[in-house]
């Protein structure tokens, strides 16, 4: 736990250092670059709000990946689950005329169900026929992509645009006046609060409940779980369903919070970023929250950096990519740390032992 925090922080530091090298190599000043990058995400309440808003869908997608990971599954279909979840919520939001307090919960439930539907199929295939979830969930991404493409055009098309859905009415979005005002007009919305609640709920399920105990046991060792009488196949299906439901909620935050309609023909990049978020967060719910906010900071700051300097915004993407490499190769960092510790310990030991070893030689001879 503590170890993984150090590794994640190392990955971040290395990523930022590598970014600095990139900036220097392309002839820019790294200090000004970073100062504008961070200013862009933190300079004033509005920018801070935008950072959080950017982070919200990433919290969901990261959590979806992390939850599956903890139970031994690799849900790579988060992008499709986000999209389908968002679509289901949008259909509900556009067709039901209810007060906001009633409509939003229904939309969230619809989103979660949509996401769960998209992930439970790979779950069932895995449990029943041992089809690897990576293959089936990535295929479901494309099934979701085209289903939503067709669904938006046929049922909820925006009359003035061929490529997007109708705007959601005010009552059907997660935007809240008090939050917008609090952050001086930022597009921050209730999605963030929902995300925080889900983080807490997931952490609770994973760490404190018998249900989480079962799911993790199956993730670690299927044979031992079977031996202990745990319904292994049921666990797999549940894990995937919950992971997808979390992603589906993220879709609501994305399409009915940050945005208020769906652009067709785009598979949300947040889905794949979720893998990186989860990796950097060491598959720990709280870690996911923090790493998603950090990614949100980089994403929302890069525009400002681009505007204020002539550093290309791709540098921010490169930093993210490098951080992912470092957290993916966490074993390497761990070894490096251990090697450093050992070298220091050995140096100390040798210094203190030189005398002793020599004297013991004399005895043996």
């Amino acid at each position: 736990m503590k170890n993984s925090l150090i590794i994640s922080l190392c990955a971040v530091v290395f990523g930022l250092l590598a970014g600095a090298v990139l900036m220097l190599a392309t002839g820019h000043n790294a200090v000004t670059g970073y100062s504008y990058l961070f200013q862009g995400g933190l300079k004033n309440p509005e920018r801070i709000g935008n950072t959080f808003a950017t982070a919200s869908p990433l919290i969901f997608s990261g959590l979806a990946v992390a939850f599956a990971f903890r139970t031994g599954l690799f849900n790579i279909g988060v992008a499709g689950q986000l999209l389908v979840g968002g679509f289901c919520a949008s259909v509900v939001g556009l067709n039901l005329d209810l007060p906001k307090v009633v409509l939003l919960p229904i939309m969230l439930i619809a989103g979660a169900l949509g996401g769960a539907l998209w992930s439970v199929i790979p779950g069932l295939l895995k449990a029943r026929f041992n089809v690897h979830e990576v293959v089936s969930s990535i295929m479901m991404n494309w099934v979701g992509f085209w289903t939503v493409y067709y669904g938006v055009q046929s049922y909820i098309k925006n009359p003035s645009s061929e490529t997007e859905s109708k705007q959601l009415p005010e009552a059907a979005t997660l935007k809240a006046h008090w939050m917008t005002d609090l952050f001086h007009g930022s597009y921050i919305n209730l999605g963030l609060l929902v995300a925080v609640v889900v983080v807490i709920v997931v952490a609770f399920i994973i760490n404190k409940t018998t249900f989480g105990y079962e799911l993790k046991a199956v993730g670690h060792n299927r044979d031992a779980s079977e031996y202990a009488g745990i319904a292994v196949n049921r666990s797999i299906v549940f894990s995937m369903a919950i992971s997808g439901a979390i992603a589906g909620l993220g879709g609501v935050a994305l399409y009915a919070g940050n945005a208020s309609n769906i652009q067709i023909g785009i598979l949300p990049s947040q889905g794949f970023d979720g893998i990186a978020v989860s990796l950097l967060g060491a598959n720990n719910p709280l870690g996911v929250l923090l790493s998603a906010i950090f990614f949100g900071l980089l994403y929302s700051g890069r525009g400002f950096m681009n505007a204020m300097t002539d550093i290309p915004p791709e540098i921010a993407d490169s930093i993210i990519a490098i951080i992912i490499y470092f957290s993916a190769t966490s074993i390497m960092i761990e070894r490096l740390i251990r090697w450093l510790i050992r070298r220091r310990a050995n140096a100390k030991l040798n210094a203190s032992q030189d005398g002793k070893v020599k004297s013991s030689h004399v005895e043996h001879d």
């Binding site: 404190k208 409940t209 018998t210 249900f211 105990y213 993790k216 046991a217 670690h220 060792n221 044979d223 031992a224 779980s225 079977e226 031996y227 202990a228 009488g229 745990i230 319904a231 030991l349 032992q353 002793k356 070893v357 013991s360 030689h361 043996h364």
Partner: protein, 508 residues
Amino acid sequence: MEYVVEMLNIRKEFTGIVANDDITLRLKRGEIHALLGENGAGKSTLMSILFGMYQADRGTIKVGGKEVRISNPNVANQLGIGMVHQHFKLVENFTVTENIVLGSEPRKWGIVLDVKQAGKKIEELSKRYGLNVDPYAKIEEISVGMQQRVEILKMLYRKAEVLILDEPTGVLTPQEIQELGKIMKNLIAEGKSIILITHKLKEIKEFADRCTVIRRGKTIGTVDVAPTSETAMAEMMVGRQVSFKVQKTESDPGKVVLKVDSLTVRSGRKSLALSNFSLEVRAGEIVGIAGVEGNGQSDLVEAVTGLRKVESGKIYLYGEEITGIPVRDRIESGIGHIPEDRQRRGLVLDYSLGENMVLEVYHKEPFSRRGILQKQAIRKYADHIIESFDVRSGGSAASTVRSLSGGNQQKAIIGREIERNPVLLVAVQPTRGLDVGSIEYIHKRLIEHRDKGNAVLLVSLELDEIMNVSDRIAVVSNGELVGVVRAADTNANEIGLMMAGVRREAGA
């Protein structure tokens, strides 16, 4: 006297644990030197240091009289030290020759693998040491005993002078063990030296010239094997007197607890693993299943515990049919299971010891309430098992099971299963890989469990264990029951014949 390898005053500390504390081992040229010690005494650590996998914190290693620094296994290889690991490191679908040359492939014209030349060399080596290995057979097609010889050949091919054999007999049948003994004699006759890691005293007595005993990381002493009795060595190892004879009273069988009625089990797509098998185990008795490995024992156990589907036939527990019911219901109705493969089946290695202790009962009060785990209750329960079964770990209930030594993992499982007080305890190889002290203790607990009026089904490949602990012995061969005999009026010879499929009437 000339020593090929000397390890002097070796100390190795892992965070919190001193694995080796001032150990000295001297290996003479041309001897078989046994390294004897309990589980977790530090044998593996010591050998890993010699093989270059760990660095000693203190102490010196001399090879051929010269002080050396073995920083990795390649250095060990160059110094002529080779190791045959407990778990073989072979590529299943490669031939013997391909496996042996792996890493130092002989080449023709710089790029083409010259298997022929290598094969010839391996054939020569194999003949010289009486190994009798076909260099062109595939690993997956040869027996475990043969695979071990391939590992030995690998060392010889790399010109090893010192061979470390780590628990080499654990996977072998009695005949194969005898053959291994011959091979070792051939090797030392040719001037090689062998370090034999084991805790089977019988084999030390049979094969070794000298024996170094270590206990809790310290050298207790090095003795000549010939004049030392097994009891004396066991005492050195454990630090107290050990009895080899299992103390038990005559069994007093009661009602039938487990009834297996003409059970047939299919193994995979292949032929029948168990055919038309019937057996009864009564309350207050231990029934041992004897047989050569892979003759249907595991299939019987898996069918009884619910891990394997039954083709036909019925299983009853206290008269109630349990043939088709799920594993959890069988656990609830009172079946305990000490599984054959503790790491694969018995434990979730990444869970803490505490979490593993409630693997089958976590969903019940007091370990959880309304779906919420009660960590305190779990901890208390785990501490109780840890204490009463003497499970040693770095940080008690909180340490991950992965960090425990194999023997302690096994004790934890046995503790967990016995603590639940099951009416039927299915114990498969309960003492595999354990030292005499722990074996004695576990046998005692099994008999205690019987004396409380429970039934025990004991499956073991160790004939001694079966003969000593069981009240009745059922012998299987080829998935069929050869016969059931009372342990009191049979002998190893008769059981051996039955294991080969000879029925009692015909054999006697």
